[in-house]
């Protein structure tokens, strides 16, 4: 897959992905808009710049492995897969429908190319990423494992079991990213269950912590590159994002965590996306 370094081009792709996230969710009538829009710039950078992958050969042995622990942001994951060439973006409109390959949370058995792991029960993906990274190291594989997590997800104890084991096994082929948007279904993380000090927590668990603005393409790419180059152990990127990014009227509103736009909202949302580009 050719790497796109032109930031304007990446921004355009992000806009198209966001539009499809809005449209597919409106068509589905349910799903998670907030986190999907919040992670769009990160997914764009991953699928069009960072990941070593071949969309026409989804099982290519040398591909980097992306483990999406927060399966509920499937709409942005699917849109990134489609726009990078894994399948026709038209199929995005089948999201969450009976018989669709685009399950509400990623489900491999339905045959969509590009899914490494069926997931969606929070707190499991980092463990899987750890096992996969260990298998890769065992065979001296060149690929890296990239996992994506929510900040609310860090309240799951299993995440910290996995974090402990990643540094114990010195997994320098593992890069986790935390979607740090400070909110979850019930409200602010700090009201629901405080997770700070996150940087200290991960550092004390033996991780290298990198911070970045999760909507700044250049910064996202530079941070990922720095993470890949770090060879002393696992790296976690705290990417500061805004839930609902791009649709100003819903940005940072946690009520939009698990909501889909109504069909009559689509035009207005897309207009906002275009204005906010």
């Amino acid at each position: 897959m050719p790497v796109i370094n032109n930031i304007q081009e990446l921004k355009k792709i992000s806009l198209e992905i966001r539009k499809d996230v809005v449209r597919s969710l409106a068509e589905a009538g349910s799903g998670h808009l907030g986190g999907s829009l919040g992670l769009t710039d990160i997914f764009t950078c991953l699928y069009f710049n960072i990941l070593n992958h071949k969309p026409d050969m989804p099982n290519w042995d040398y591909r980097d492995r992306l483990i999406l622990s927060i399966g509920h942001v499937a709409p942005v994951f699917y849109a990134a897969l489609a726009h990078s060439g894994y399948f026709n973006p038209k199929e995005l409109m089948t999201l969450r429908k009976l018989g669709s390959r685009l399950q509400g949370h990623p489900g491999k058995e339905h045959g969509l190319p590009g899914i490494e792991l069926s997931a969606g029960s929070l707190g499991q993906g980092l463990s899987v990423a750890v096992g996969l990274a260990l298998a890769g190291k065992m065979d001296k594989k060149s690929w890296n494992v990239f996992s994506i997590h929510g900040d609310g997800e860090l309240q799951e104890g299993a995440i910290w079991e996995a974090a402990m084991s990643a540094s114990h096994h010195q997994l320098n082929n593992l890069v986790a990213l935390i979607d740090r948007n400070y909110v979850q279904i019930d409200g602010k993380n700090s009201d629901v269950m405080e997770i700070e000090p996150l940087k200290d927590k991960f550092e004390s668990f033996g991780w290298k912590v990198l911070l970045c603005n999760g909507h700044h393409h250049k910064e996202i790419i530079a941070t990922y590159k720095k993470a890949i180059e770090w060879k002393k152990g696992p790296v976690v990127i705290m990417a500061k994002t805004h839930m609902g990014k791009g649709v100003k009227s819903i940005e940072d509103d946690y009520h939009w965590h698990g909501k889909a736009p109504k069909p009559e909202q689509v035009d207005a949302f897309i207009k906002e996306l275009e204005q906010n580009q």
Binding site: R65, E109, E116, Q124, S127, A135, A158, E161
Partner: protein
């Protein structure tokens, strides 16, 4: 007639099977949960130190990491006490392993009440129920140490997806031989009989056989079937037994709800309903005690099984007698 070769813990059979797999398949790896020796993973660990990975006391992470190993082309064995592998980490087993249909092999050690003095917290009596309800999961519950070795090997050679292998801590009669073929999903007719059938699993297969031999003296002709694969269950052998003997007794070191007895009853209500008497833990927790004391107290011995068979057989004869 099966005879006692020796007393041997089934966990040793697991350890030997795992080591044999390690020799044959370079992609077999083992994950440790701190209790490596206790669950016999040390045989593998010592032979293949580079293919053993320590995860400490963190069962949820072990199951998830095992799924990751499988994604990376390995055949991982994740082994700990059955109370933890089946219960602590059930969601990881359900989603990361079973929903992804990955070839993770899960060892459920120290199963049953025969764990003894550790008491209720460590006596896995619900693991069969949990594991057999998960789609894609194969559930193996071999009858002695020799068969546990064969079952462990079969979990890799005969099962493509996830498998759960249940075994115990205590030394129990080892009575089968390695040339006694182990076929996943096939029940084993260990003794012919026409009056009553005892269908047993795990260590209670031996107890069932002893009950059957005792009852020969009382002219009760008892059939004994070993169901070493709880899922997929051998429906044919169960239906045939029901048709030919008319009465079924099930025996297991597990709660009567959800275990072998339930699995057998599910088959029979569809095809050939007959009376099923279930021997197991009667919806209760265990307690501390010597293994043999507990087996006695909770009615899991050959003597108790024989009593149940006599009683149920008497009812059958009374019903058959014309008024």
């Amino acid at each position: 007639m099966f005879t006692l070769k020796q007393l041997k813990p089934t966990r040793y059979g697991f350890g030997e099977g795992l080591k044999a797999l390690g020799e044959k398949y370079p992609n077999v790896v083992a994950l440790g949960a701190d209790i490596t020796s206790s669950v016999s993973v040390n045989f593998f660990k010592e032979a293949f130190p580079n293919r053993f990975f320590s995860f400490g006391i963190a069962e949820q992470n072990i199951m998830g990491a095992a799924a990751g190993f499988a994604l990376g082309g390995k055949i991982p064995f994740a082994t700990t006490y059955a109370v933890f592998s089946a219960l602590r980490a059930t969601d990881q087993v359900r989603i990361s392993i079973c929903y992804n249909n990955l070839p993770v092999k899960i060892g459920g050690a120290h199963a049953g009440i025969s764990v003894g003095p550790d008491g209720a917290t460590h006596q896995a009596l619900e693991d069969i129920a949990i594991m057999r309800v998960l789609p894609n999961m194969t559930v193996l519950s071999p009858c002695d140490a020799t068969q546990t070795k064969l079952a462990t090997i079969a979990s890799v050679e005969q099962v493509n997806g996830p498998a759960y292998i249940r075994f115990g801590r205590e030394a129990v009669p080892d009575f089968t031989t390695e040339d006694f073929p182990f076929e996943v999903g096939k029940g084993q007719l260990l003794k012919e009989g026409k009056d009553v059938t005892i269908i047993a699993t795990g260590h209670l297969v031996w107890e069932a056989l002893q009950a059957a031999y005792q009852l020969e003296k009382q002219n009760i002709d008892v059939r004994v079937i070993n169901i070493h694969t709880i899922k997929p269950i051998d429906e044919d052998i169960i239906i045939k037994a029901a048709k030919e003997t008319g009465l079924i007794v099930t025996a297991e070191e597990h709660q009567i709800y959800g275990g072998l007895g339930s699995a057998v009853a599910e088959v029979l209500v569809k095809e050939n309903p007959v009376k099923v008497k279930m021997i197991g833990m009667n919806d209760q927790f265990g307690e501390s005690g010597k293994p043999e004391e507990l087996m006695q107290k909770y009615g899991l011995t050959s003597g108790h099984i024989a009593e149940i068979v006599i009683e149920i057989n008497k009812q059958k004869r009374n019903n058959e007698r014309p008024d």
